[in-house]
Symmetry: C2
């Protein structure tokens, strides 16, 4: 058995939809619904956290592989776009992940780093792809 | 086709593992690895965001159903505990969700609200349960 982690979330006020989550690493995070759903947009939509988690998970993998490959990364961003089903439970049916690396980085090595994360290391990818079709692309921006 | 949403994440500095995510609703969120993985614990672990998202998603469903049922909720918290696989990609294999409602709330109605969220409405639950076994419990704390 691997690591066990616990997140506690509490309703912030009795009229709203905002919850404060206490993360196992000490940080806090506020989630809220939009005004169209009784919220006040005080924090992240819960489902957006799944996309952010995917971005961070694969991003940390890829930057770590690129460093091991001694690639001169000058910048790195990830765009994650999710398309939800029209009907409840409105899961993400398609997710596009775009890795954009700046610097004089070898394209084959970047492709390899992205592939390693996607196929073997990234926990969030492995979970979300059971439901969503995940399409991953990468590109190098020369300075 | 339902809603499409986009999250952008950028590497914060070229020596670290922290990413800043820009959420579609305007908030920002920092993610980081722990010191054991080259990070500085400046933000949430990406995989913890999946658990927080699940807590917020089901929590907003349940509180909204309880209000429609005119239940006198005086407090509400959710504990989400995830157990990860030992081997890569280290997905969550088991997730326990515990709903704890304070107030003079009817137990059958709470059971119904939780069941509706779990079986039909909660998008995060529907996604994560494709990989993790999700065990949900609820309890009422009388004041």
């Amino acid at each position: 058995m691997g690591e066990t982690v616990k997140v506690d979330a509490s309703l912030l006020d009795l009229d709203g939809m905002a919850f404060r989550a206490a993360l196992p690493t000490g940080q806090e995070l506020v989630m809220d619904a939009g005004e169209d759903h009784g919220g006040r947009n005080l924090g992240a939509r819960p489902m957006h956290l799944l996309l952010a988690g995917l971005a961070g998970c694969t991003g940390m993998d890829v930057i770590s592989f690129l460093r091991k490959m001694r690639q001169p990364v000058k910048g790195y961003r990830i765009e994650v776009e999710g398309e939800r089903a029209e009907d409840y439970p409105k899961v993400f049916t398609h997710i596009r992940v775009r890795h954009i690396v700046t610097g004089d980085v070898d394209e084959e090595r970047l492709a390899k780093a992205v592939e390693l994360s996607e196929s073997r290391y990234c926990s969030a990818n492995a979970m979300l792809k059971a439901v969503a079709e995940i399409e991953t692309t990468w590109e190098v921006e020369r300075e």
